[in-house]
């Protein structure tokens, strides 16, 4: 299948899904296999957040903050879910009329048009809503790594809700909902821009605005439970099969290839990090391995539906090297306290992957093929525009939002609470009583 037909069918599918609620009638039935796979993918992607990401992040903080991390992931999941149902799905995926380039409309607020029979392509629309919801859940949850161990719970919730409205729903619409980046023909299969760049850049802004943790960088702040982090990492890896494989919105060869390249990039990213540590320190750490894995996964995300196996290796390798290097630079040179390295891993990974997708999609590199009449240079330009636009929008949006949140509730806990830990001071609980 040429790239053109694929993109066309994707656009048709999108178009279809936008009008489906109105036009669908009971005589057309969902494909049970596709539906089974997207429901499974939905479970897998939610599993990435609960408990995957929660454990991945939770293990990395000090013991007195572990529950705060779990709780933030959990509460964000709840808030994002309701927000998605009430307004988000409509803003992201419905027709925005004259503003459609920028944002969807209000016609599907409260999922007004989603019935048992409405379809979205070959799957029930309810399933499409749920699948996309899990992306809206994990994206703000990724950001909390930046301000871990020092942000007030109320501020986290306010910021996350506002961020979804201001950053996520619009960017999601631009890329997947028929907005201006979709019009330009941007390639973002499963969320290089929508998920990883938005989260990574916002994390960097948040880290800078909220300031360093007390004691950083003089005192090491070793992870309190790396077994928890590695457990979460395993869940993220498996869950990513749903993230990227589910983004095919069907159980077919596209989904299969997406999973295959996803897996290859993850393995390559992890081995890259292992090798770098081995060369530099004479030892390879488990945390390094799983960090490289996430870098590999984040980077392949936008490209996963378009590229071949060799490209996946190249992407995983590039991601491993760059994310390692930028993590070093951030933490040890310029001392930015993006506590759990959200920007260096997700932000950088998302940028790398989105750009490389524009290259490796070419059949010359084993990809699916460029759109009719598109050149590699042309596609790369589109990708670059998407990257830059997403960076600016996320950065500025997060900056303004954090200013507002700080005015409303004071975003940072006081010093004594930071010392005592967020678990006790924000949630009146203790992680372990062993």
């Amino acid at each position: 299948m040429s790239f053109f037909t694929s993109v066309t069918s994707r656009l048709w599918l999108l178009a279809f899904c936008l009008v489906a609620p109105l036009s669908a009638n009971a005589s057309e039935a969902a494909d049970s296999g596709d539906t089974a796979w997207i429901m499974t993918s939905t479970a897998l992607v939610l599993f990435m957040t609960l408990p995957g990401l929660a454990l991945f992040y939770g293990g990395l903080v000090r013991v007195r903050n572990v529950l705060s991390v779990l709780m933030q992931c959990f509460a964000i999941a709840c808030v994002a879910s309701l927000l998605w149902v009430v307004v988000g799905y409509s803003l992201a995926f419905s027709d925005g009329g004259e503003f459609n380039r920028w944002i969807g409309g209000s016609s599907n607020f409260f999922l007004r048009n989603v019935t048992r029979d409405s379809l979205s392509g070959a799957i029930p629309e309810s399933v499409f809503v749920m699948f996309q919801m899990t992306f809206a859940v994990i994206t703000p949850a990724l950001i909390i790594g930046a301000f871990a161990e020092r942000m007030r719970f109320s501020a986290v919730l306010l910021f996350s809700a506002g961020w979804l409205m201001l950053v996520y729903f619009p960017v999601c619409h631009w890329v997947w909902g028929g907005g201006w980046l979709a019009d330009l023909g941007v390639l973002d299969f499963a969320g290089g821009t929508v998920v990883h760049i938005t989260a990574g850049v916002s994390a960097l802004v948040a880290a800078l605005m909220i300031g360093r943790r007390k004691g950083f960088p003089e005192r090491p702040m070793p992870p309190h439970n790396l077994t928890m982090t590695v457990t979460g990492a395993g869940m993220l890896w498996i869950g990513w099969f749903g993230f990227n494989g589910g983004s095919a919105l069907a159980a077919n060869g596209d989904a299969g290839m997406a999973i295959l390249v996803t897996h290859v990039s993850a393995a390559t990213g992890a081995l890259t990090w292992i090798v770098i540590e081995w060369l530099r320190h004479g030892r390879a750490s488990a945390l390094g391995a799983v960090t490289g894995m996430v870098a590999g996964l984040g980077s392949i995300t936008p490209a996963s539906g378009y590229v071949g196996v060799a490209a996946a290796m190249a992407i995983g390798l590039t991601a491993g090297v760059l994310c390692y290097w930028i993590t070093m630079y951030m933490k040890n040179v310029i001392h930015v306290d993006d506590a759990l390295d959200v920007f260096s891993v997700h932000g950088v990974g998302g940028i790398v992957g989105t750009l490389l997708a524009g290259l490796f999609v070419a059949t010359a590199y084993g990809g699916l093929g460029l759109a009719d009449g598109m050149t590699i240079a042309g596609q790369l330009k589109v990708q670059l525009i998407a990257v830059v636009a997403t960076i600016i929008w996320s950065g500025v949006g997060s900056f303004l939002l954090l200013k507002l949140v700080d005015m409303l509730v004071t975003q940072r806990v006081d010093e004594e609470s930071e010392v005592q830990g967020l678990d006790l001071t924000q949630h009146e609980e203790t992680g372990y009583n062993l």
Binding site: I276, R283, T327
Partner: protein
Amino acid sequence: MKLVSAVIKPFKLDEVREGLNNIGIHGMTVTEVKGFGRQRGHTEIYRGAEYVVDFLPKIKIEVGVAEDRVDDVVDAIRNAADSGKIGDGKIFVSSLEQVVRIRTGETGTEAL
């Protein structure tokens, strides 16, 4: 009576306990502690950065003994805990004024 307190390397615990058993000492209390001293800590890697952890896991053993057993006990501990390497630890001896066995109310060396 004396209280002999020794800070030793964790993997020497079994040998020390056996050493004490061999000289007829069967009671002791053990605590997990962290030691700082001349022994250098180890490095750990954290996302590529290396840092030094300078507190080391140690075991503290406390044994209450009658005055006349102190030297035996100190020797037994030394012999068992000595690996010839820095960080093998230290033995502290201090005076105990009274010991009471809770169950029986026995006091003094009876209670040990």
